[in-house]
Symmetry: C2
Subunit: 510 residues, 2 copies
């Protein structure tokens, strides 16, 4: 259990850190594409991430994900935070959300906590404006986020799509401020006003909100779906580094498949014909449009003959929506996983992750190694041959890419959410911490003052709480979670009645 | 008079043209900055463009323009079209507006002719959606505009500010579509909704119009003036090519000093103290803010030690506003020049132009050579060592930069405006053609069926019409203008009563 202690973590201190070339790095740095999907669940694909295809896999058509799985490595135990901004800020900072104090999604406009009102608990003073590299902000977290380090190492860094690292007016609201050379359509918005070119993606005077997607004027009034427009722009943006033989980092973060769940008419008929209700049919078209984008990107790489020197990383930022707004009964959309986005149960945090890296990754492999959002930061830097002097919370998964059988899973993965998302409080949708450790999963429901224990290897659906039957294991994990939270400087919500913070989880097992 | 015939023009045919490296080109290509101001008049500066400082020069404070004049070459006879889109499309296509048929400013939304209603005349079918490189558009004019050619030659091409090459949905509405690697704040809008960061540059849900400036989220809610925000973004965008030792082309097209004439509070007090009325004081702050931007850019070049290998070109896109909306009496804002933006008189088309190019341009020089908007295309290409196989209307002014005394002025410069701008029809603000040829100026007022002749050398203010006293010269120039119009495939407006196009100018002197 103490294996994880060998790994040293320190407080984030990029100000003094320097990016360096790894001495062993060849001059031919690989291009790196981080293909990030929004709100895509672990089951929202025809490519099984479970041991075999299950019911929901048959609902979707994602041939390009299937192809990617055949050509790369699949992580079936990959994790993110349960809502988007914490995952996105962890991705480019390498830090746990428990440490960044960006634990909830950030509002478009500044200084607005997004926590849903609660009678008993108040959220801690988390960084409600998100990530910033600007000293004047109250969220002065990192001088050198991932794109900045890559840019300094000679990468041409491209941002396309949803940013959502911080509120308007913050440094994080502008991807170019975080080291991206090119920014297309990224701002502080968390979802598009409209996916439709016919609706100018929301840019309609009189109706325009802050969720109108910028930078896609070329497609206004046309029947180009947002996912397609972003793909075309991403491909156009890659041309410069490709033609100039510069290594590039493309962060292609689709707005899909986040609400509003609007049908992409290119794909809708077959899903309606398959008997899906209109919402779920529309949702499936968002998935298939995203999959087509993945295929188009891979086609481009082949066409430009850079396929072999380009790493493609596929990821979603949190679990699939299951709380409200989807077709069918609540909390069924990620089955067999429990609950969905916003919850510490697997449906909220387990996400599809694949990596395609010709020459490094053995095609068609699958690993039991778990990974978490903050691991992408050191992993991408290692791909680029950049060594950091200052440690971060994440750990590079490059050794796993090279040897998928090398599974440690001996460090705790923490999913700390001292916030309340929506009106619903069931299934952990508010005030929770989750932790994976080995085969175990600990869930701390703060408001209920309850700990739950699951054996994920045997009980993927988290149906059998072992907290009563295995009190010793519960105690050990509660202490571990407490230590992890404290070491990362995690914040806890406060009881309104007393003004006292919620107890650390180990208080429940003393 | 026939000297100009030696210059061969052909129909635009970039499709078959290829950009090539000039054999004599060194590997060290210069960086090129085109600093374009919107609606800035020839007199809107403390740097005299006339033979000596005149009254209006004392109204403005532009120390950085003064510095640039000391360090570079000043063209006091530089011309643009009388409204913005025609100049901007000529700049990046090398083609006369008479040939592109983009003769008026383009609306934000597509398929809207912007011509003011007229009882007697109808505008021809000009390219109301502006420039496009998209075959599906009705404005398929050029496959390779200036930024595209520069990009293909290895330049890192940056667009910052006002684009206004075409309407929403057109290829021209997206600078990245025209060969810019980076686009910041450029779209189809012709002026900003607001210059104020406090007003999010217009991005205020419920109030947002199509004139809201995109891409500046970082400055929302802050007291950053638009000109300053664009400058900071431009400097940030230059960092990548500078750090990677790539030559760059920065097209920094300020929204200033176009309407709305909003005061920049950093500079307002001294202009009010000087007794200017509030509108003119605000206008002067737009000018000074623009001048500060020029200074900041030059400071950046020095700081990065690239000053000596960077060409800076200063230009305005048309004459200063004098028709309506300014302080003081109409048509006095560009004195001693006559009229202003929208007019074929000098106030509408004569613009401040300077070029700073250390090692090539003798500091503090001044040339009598005239230049026109379409000349910038071949000039910039020559700076970059790119040779075109296909000719354009413009002629490179590089020989003049090297030898300011080399003045030919033996080709006609045409300013064709078969359109109507506003409700005012005086002073040529509708349905006109202008032509400079040598010392002469011919003005064709179509609706009035009148030709006017001026000797610009003796009569800068166009107060003495010589059409009656020199009928022979009038006839020669009317024929020359007719030949020029026909050779470029110019369109003429149509009489509503008869359906017949307006007569060519030579019909008036037969």
């Amino acid at each position: 259990m103490k294996g994880y202690l060998k790994i040293l973590f320190f407080i984030c201190c990029w100000g003094t850190g320097k990016a360096q070339q790894s001495p062993g790095q060849t001059t031919q740095k690989p291009n790196i594409i981080l293909f990030l999907v929004d709100d895509m669940g672990w089951m929202d694909t025809s490519q099984p991430f479970g041991d075999s295809a299950m019911a929901l896999n048959h609902k979707f058509h994602t041939p390009n994900m299937e192809r990617m799985a055949k050509e790369g490595i699949l992580f079936h135990q990959a994790y993110a935070n349960s809502v988007c901004t914490p995952t996105r800020t962890s991705l480019i900072s390498g830090m746990s959300a428990a440490r960044t104090h960006i634990t909830n999604w950030t509002a478009i406009t500044p200084n607005e906590a997004t926590d849903f009102k609660d009678d008993q608990l108040t959220a801690p003073k988390w960084n409600i404006n998100g990530l910033s590299n600007i000293a004047e902000q109250n969220t002065y977290l990192c001088k050198k986020p991932l794109p900045q380090l890559l840019k300094e190492a000679g990468y041409f860094t491209i941002h396309v799509g949803k940013a959502h690292w911080g509120s308007l007016g913050s440094g994080g609201s502008d991807p170019m401020n975080l080291g991206f050379v090119v920014n297309i359509a990224g701002s502080s918005l968390g979802h598009p006003q409209s996916y439709y070119g016919e609706q100018n993606f929301g840019n309609m005077p009189g109706k325009t909100t802050f969720n109108a997607v910028p930078d896609l004027q070329r497609f206004y009034g046309k029947d180009t779906f947002l996912t397609e427009a972003l793909t075309q722009k991403a491909i156009a943006a890659m041309n410069f580094p490709v033609e100039n033989k510069k290594p590039f980092f493309l962060y292609l973060a689709h707005y899909a498949v986040h609400m509003p769940i609007q049908p992409d008419k290119r794909f809708i008929n077959k899903y309606l014909a398959a008997g899906l209700d209109p919402t779920e049919a529309a949702y499936a078209t968002l998935i298939e449009g995203m999959d087509k984008s993945l295929g188009d990107i891979m086609h481009y790489l082949k066409e430009k003959k850079i396929e072999k020197n380009t790493v493609v990383i596929f990821m979603s930022d949190n679990g699939g929506l299951a709380n409200a707004g989807r077709g069918g009964a609540r909390n069924t959309q990620n089955l067999p996983l429990r609950a969905g986005k916003g919850s510490p149960y697997e449906g909220g945090i387990r996400v599809p992750v694949m990596v395609r890296w010709p020459g490094v990754v053995q095609p068609g492999t699958r690993t039991n190694s778990y990974v978490s959002a903050e691991d992408f930061f050191p992993s991408v830097l290692e791909m680029a041959g950049i060594r950091l002097n200052t440690p971060v919370d994440g750990i590079s998964y490059i050794p796993v890419l090279k040897n998928p059988a090398m599974v440690k899973n001996d460090r705790p993965l923490l999913f700390h959410y001292p916030n309340r998302w929506t009106s619903n409080e069931d299934e952990g949708y508010a005030w929770s911490s989750g932790m994976r450790y080995g085969k175990w999963k600990l869930v701390y429901l703060m408001k209920q003052q309850k700990l739950e224990l699951y054996d994920i290897e045997k009980d993927l659906g988290e149906q059998h709480d072992l907290s009563k039957s295995d009190p010793q294991q519960l105690k050990e994990l509660a202490r571990l979670m407490t230590a992890e939270l404290k070491r990362k400087g995690a914040q806890m919500p406060v009881w309104k009645s007393s003004g006292i913070p919620v107890a650390w989880p180990d208080a429940l097992v003393k």
